[in-house]
């Protein structure tokens, strides 16, 4: 199946909902990755998963962070360091498939789960293209899919099917998934958690800290719908939780400000806690173009 996308437009910078209407998850992911890499001209993961090989003279456009400052100090000449890719990087994508992820705030907008699936597929494609072994874990109250990290041909297809075959779950228990992950990641690797983080923060952080302790690189994508940032709705409404019997009757106009402050406080708390433990934290909303979400990793 071919995708009719104007050459002047890049999938990675379009509205995620519009992109998703153009095709299935594979097409979207491929389009996003193509556009993303075209604009980036380099692997977002180069640098942390490769080893140094040689120097070459600096050329305009090279990243200043790859300048060799020792040569510059000794010889007053500009050289950049070049690296050789490792083939034994093992990356695991953790995708939250709980019921709260299967929600969107407005018609036509992607659900958080759909956004997470496409983002995970794009990430997997990037990793596999640079020969990194990539696996997948989907979870809700329990681990639903667990695909070990591989680099062989067809791995991306298996990962995509793993995403597609995971139904919307019920509650969320990230801690269990993360503990299961430790058994799948024997060697140091990369862990990318894509979730709305609507679970117990302390328990989840305990597991993430354990991963960090085992030497894994941990990245957290906190996915939210824009409607979760700004409360709206009828004058008075009973909001029912998707994962529990809990409900609350509120007047959105009265509570909007306090709710917004609470959400911002929660995001700030996640960000601060993750930074403290060396975990990369990125907050994305489901209307953020996939390319911009991927660029957060560079």
């Amino acid at each position: 199946m071919t995708v009719a996308v104007p050459t002047s437009q890049r999938f990675d910078l379009l509205d995620p909902a519009e992109v998703s209407r153009l095709g299935g998850i594979e097409i979207v992911a491929e389009g996003v990755v193509e556009g993303f890499l075209t604009g980036l001209h380099r692997s977002p993961f180069r640098g942390f998963s490769v080893e140094f090989t040689e120097h070459r003279p600096y050329q305009p456009g090279d990243e200043p962070r790859y300048l060799d400052w020792k040569i510059l100090a000794r010889a007053d000449r500009l050289f950049v360091k070049q690296f050789e890719q490792e083939t034994n990087l093992r990356a695991m994508l953790l995708v939250d498939a709980s019921r709260s992820m299967a929600w969107h705030g407005a018609e036509g907008r992607l659900t958080k789960r759909a956004y997470a699936d496409r983002l995970a597929a794009a990430l997997a494609l990037i990793l596999l293209r640079q020969r990194d072994a990539t696996g997948l874990v989907t979870f809700d109250e329990a681990v639903r899919q667990a695909i070990p990290a591989r680099v062989k041909v067809g791995q991306w297809g298996r990962l995509v099917r793993g995403l597609l075959d995971t139904p919307d779950g019920r509650g969320t228990a990230a801690e269990a998934a993360l503990r299961r992950l430790t058994s799948l990641l024997v060697r140091r690797g990369l862990v990318i958690l894509i979730s709305d983080l609507l679970f117990d923060r302390d328990l989840a952080l305990t597991a993430l800290r354990y991963l960090r302790h085992r030497g894994h690189q941990v990245i957290v994508y906190h996915v939210m719908d824009p409607a979760e940032l700004d409360l709206g709705g009828p004058p008075e409404v009973r909001f029912r939780d998707l994962e529990s019997p809990a409900s609350v009757v509120v007047r959105p106009r009265e509570l909007a400000r306090a709710y917004g402050e609470t959400v911002r406080r929660e995001i700030a708390a996640w960000r601060a806690t993750c930074r403290r433990h060396g975990i990369a934290y990125h907050h994305v909303t489901t209307d953020l173009p996939f390319g911009l979400a991927l660029r957060l990793l560079t």
Partner: protein, 559 residues
Amino acid sequence: MSFLHPLALAGLAAAAIPALLHLLERRVPPELPFPAVRYLADAERRSARRLRLRHLLLLVLRTALIVAIVLAAARPLVPSRGTTGTLHPPTALVVILDNSPSSGVVVDGRPLLDRLKLAAHAALARAAAGDRLWLVLADGVARAGSRDALVAAVDSAHPDSRRLAVVAATARAARLVEAEPVPGREVHLVSDLQRTALEGTADAPRDVRVLALAPADAAPPNRGIGMLQPTDGGLAVAVVGTPGTPPGPLTVRLRGRPVARAIGAPGTTVTVSLSAPGPGWWAGDVELEADELRADDARPFVWRVAPPARVATGADAGPFLTAAIGVLRDAGRLAAGSDVSFGERPGPGASVLFPPADPALLGQANRALAARGVTARFAAPGTAGPIAAPGLPGLAGVSVARRYRFSGVDSAAVLATVNGEPWLVRVGNVVLFGSRLDTAWTALPAAPGFVPFVDALANRIVRGEADVHEAEGAARVEFVVAGADTTGATVFRVDPRESDLTPARAAMARRALGAELARDADFAAAAFAGPRLAEVSGLLLVAALLLAAAELGVATLTR
């Protein structure tokens, strides 16, 4: 605090609307799925106190807003310090405008009534919308009405021919306002306060303020015709007026023709000689030279000229009646003859009958009445009691020890009663007594008025003629006729007391009326002397605006 429109306070019930809406609006809200309920619950927990305070504040502000608007609509009045207040408490006010005949006197080239009307006008002009107003004129009728209607009534008032009993009118007005459920109760008396008008005391209730226009310092000179009494060969003219007024000429006219002239001063009686005209009813008048009060300068009179009745008395007439008739014959008031017979049996002409002394003869007397065609009959004995006779003042109160009741008597025929039962009746030209004219039956023969009564009985009553009555009103004469015969007359004239324009002293006025006195210039300012009030509906509207702004602010800024 009082209100100009207290009925508007019923709108305070609307203050319950915000609370009712709050309660009634507790419907089942729509339910929506939402993943971040934990954030919502946390936000609500953190904001619960603020939201409760906000709801309470909004409820209070909205209720206060409605209360402020309703109170403003009721136009509240609050006491005001000093004289800054422009209003007074709602007041029940009776303005008594004394437009009796004396108010027509011209003082300093200006009718006194104009001065009184100005004062009444000024008092009414200060009345407010919440006041209850009445106007009393010389007729004594309390007219309720709006300020404008009563001002119009004051403007259209003219000197009346009736005298106003000032003290009694003040007492009635005080009772009227006392019954009103308002904070202020006042009676404003606008009168010339003649000395003769202040008889008795008004005894106004303590919570009723009586304000009277202060009496004048000087009495205008005035002469008026008081009583007129035709006598044999003359006319007695009583001249009344303000003491000290010099004498003035008067003219007597009979049927429009001047027949005599004289000079009289107030307090004197002038007897004018008149030659007796022929028998009949003669109308005339006496007129004084014009002075400052024209209402009492002329007065009509009626002169009944008739020959003395010729009477005959039977042996059963009794000693008292026989003696009285003898006296009247000697005086020329009666003559011997058969025009009128007195006795137990009716005569051929007019008859005055009394019951027989022997009860056994009662049937015989009744048969004689029947033979004469008289429907009335002597009946069973009645109880003792005093005589009541509105048309015969000489009989009133005289006791009756024995009497017979009457049967077959129309109420129109009754001239006097005892214990409510007919005692003296006239049927045709027959007059019937229920008692014999003897002191064993009634005290009438021993009463001072007995002889004049017998005179009237023989010369007038038995003929069916009425007395010449006097009544208050515009000067004129009205005759009473029965068929082709004139049987009586009423002479209308102003009350002679109106002629004495001497004002009462201030102390006398205060004592009789229990009133505060105020001069013309101070009268309007002295009215409504209760605490000065200021209307605060404007402030309440400002407060309502502030409350509305506060409500808007709380509703929007505290979201």
